[in-house]
Symmetry: none
Subunit: 405 residues, 2 copies
């Protein structure tokens, strides 16, 4: 029996609430130049106090040595094996779900950039000078009617931030096996959509027609006179989270990609602001509606990606200040962890195990007195795979039955 | 996706060098009679200094409680699952590769001993009184012409050390399913080659003819008048290490078996002396030619097998004295570990986890200050399977791409 099948089979309906509080990229490094991690450098009195009453440990996102992207990192936290083909969520789908677009089975979702080409048709800027979001909205509004009258094909174009947009293609027999048209450099024309398998030839041709119609319409724009498409993808075929574990899951995330992953897993995504305060405020408002809460804080990862230890410390201190609000809601079990580490010295995601704190009535109060990488290495929970976390959290919430008699 | 497929898929070409420094059998035990392990008893100032800048952990060679032979122990270090049938390297092949013999797909490789029988044909010494290596060479030179005129079968006999030799049989349809002819005791005649499956009957008969020809030729020898054959085997069918991980691997090992394993994995085996000093000197000479270095020190294992703690301590201190040479080469990542433990109190390989040290720019400088079993138990790397080490080492060398978006 696969791990997810085992945990699913043992999961029971209950009104005992579980919270998965994800501090994206929270894990950090000690190096010769950075002798303290962000968690060590931050003053976190509320986490210290919680650690004294909790169990610590660490999780390995995908496998030892493997650095996960955000999609695989979160799927693993939700108990899905991210290395299985059915868990491969394309960037187009992630982006579309994150914008709260209606993506149905069989729809193609595609990420787009507006770009700039010169009079010879050669790209001069792959991001169209990062046009303002308002410009992007205007362009998409203008383009939608021009994309309305395909035979047997419904096309939706939806603005994202700055130069980004999403295309949804709805029709029958569409294939995601189409290569990106972004050549990843300037001085060359955009690529023509290329079928990566014979079954995708019709889709590639249709995409070419869509691009032609768009580029006719925007030919006179000063900056945004071309489009580049990437991440052509279908919805993944994942069993819905709520059905798997017999619970009502709500996702609270301020950023599109994380809302996208949660939605692809069948969670209800609750609209919510980007700040720590707004996110927790939204959780408070909806506390009665769910019994599983995926609460996502992006800013820890952003600071790590920027290589900015001070900013990461500051975000952690802000989270610490808000932590009592979450505790006061009285979840039966709370897990605090990350989807991966984003060490400031690397300014990137990394493979390092991620610290984990679990608090519940029966979590085992271990000897750790702070929430840091080193304390987590010594904690009672030990080090295990991220996909094992969901079972551990549901067990702590009293939602898993005994296995066997 | 299997672990090796995952790591292979993420591996990228790079000029960043990784070193796998194997102190064979390095792990040791504390018992009531031996209160300190070899690593604890040794004075290792260079390892102490390196440990302060590194991450420690432990690896489990095959599975909890399983004592590995040298073949499986090394295959696991290289990322191959040693419990898979395709990773089963026969002793004959190991010995042949270690002697730098040309073993091709379909060839049978077989280990042989010269032995002594009395006038009744009963074995009196299974090792022919450990005849000198020069005697063994003379006998093989004498035997080669007598083995030259088989129809459809090419036979090569090659001397090893003392009473040992290797046979290579080249022909079509040869099967490794033939039992050893060594009865493992004296006072009985050698066994007749026995087919272990119907498909091996022709091979068993051919081997019987080879033995007959040899024994006719050496019948008048005072000691070496019989041969015993073991480990009839084909080359394993392993994907080449360099292709798997997109690197140029060089193997630096002074002893045949380890050269054999490395060669079976497709590494280039660099001729090198047996001492620690010679081995590291050869690494220095060839530093520019490779980007992965498997460096093998045998003497730790030998001292362990001899139950000689003092000798093991002395070898470790010799390795410690030479360690700076390896560090001065400036590898992007260095792993120091063993293929298994060989505790002096057991005078044998064992199942105990093996201490591991990883040094790289982003290894995570943990709180360990010495390279010992106990420090390794507390280190940041935690305890994981040996087959996960290669991914961890390549990640530390900056040679693995991110998994997923």
């Amino acid at each position: 029996m696969s791990h997810i099948d085992l945990i699913s089979r043992l999961s029971q309906p209950s009104d005992r609430k579980a919270v998965l509080f994800v501090l994206d990229g929270v894990g950090d490094l000690r190096t010769e130049n950075q002798p303290q991690t962000a968690l060590e450098a931050a003053r976190l009195p509320n986490f210290d106090e919680l650690a004294r009453r909790s169990a610590l440990g660490r999780i390995v996102p995908v496998a030892q040595g493997v650095t996960p992207g955000s999609g695989p990192g979160h799927l693993a936290l939700f108990g899905y094996d991210p290395t299985q083909p059915e868990a491969d969520i394309g960037r187009g789908v992630l982006e579309a779900l994150g914008l709260d677009l209606d993506v149905r089975p069989g729809d193609l979702a595609i990420r787009g950039n507006f770009a700039t080409a010169d009079s010879a048709g050669l790209l001069t800027d792959r991001r169209a000078g990062r046009i303002p979001t308002s410009e992007c909205r205007r362009l998409c509004r203008q383009l939608q009617p021009a994309l309305a009258d395909f035979a047997d094909l419904e096309v939706v174009i939806e603005p994202g931030e700055e130069h980004r947009f999403v295309l949804i293609l709805r029709g029958s027999g569409l294939s995601p096996q189409v290569a990106d048209t972004d050549p990843q450099k300037t001085g060359v024309p955009p690529l023509v959509p290329e079928a990566l398998s014979p079954a995708a030839e019709t889709t590639a041709r249709l995409l070419g027609e869509v691009i032609d119609r768009i580029e006719v319409e925007i030919a006179g724009e000063p900056a945004a006179n071309r489009v580049l498409l990437r991440g052509v993808s279908l919805l993944p075929d994942l069993p819905p989270f709520g059905e798997l574990y017999h619970l009502r899951p709500g996702a609270f995330a301020g950023y599109p990609l994380y809302r996208g992953v949660a939605s692809a897993c069948g969670m209800e995504v609750v609209p919510c602001g980007k700040s720590v305060e707004e996110t927790l405020g939204t959780v408070e408002e909806h506390w009665d509606r769910f019994d599983f809460f995926f609460v996502h804080i992006k800013q820890t990862d952003k600071a790590g990606e920027d290589g900015d230890l001070d900013a990461k410390v500051e975000v952690l201190e802000r989270v610490d200040a808000e932590l009592p609000r979450l505790l006061e809601l009285g979840p039966a079990a709370l897990a605090v962890t990350g989807d991966h580490s984003t060490p400031a010295p690397m300014a990137a995601h990394s493979w390092h195990p991620v610290p984990l704190l679990i608090h519940s009535e029966f979590c085992f109060v271990d000897e750790t007195t702070e929430f840091t990488e080193t304390a987590a290495t010594r904690g009672h929970l030990g080090t295990f795979r991220s996909i094992d976390l969901i079972g551990m959290l549901l067990a702590n919430a009293g939602r898993l039955a005994k296995f066997g008699a």
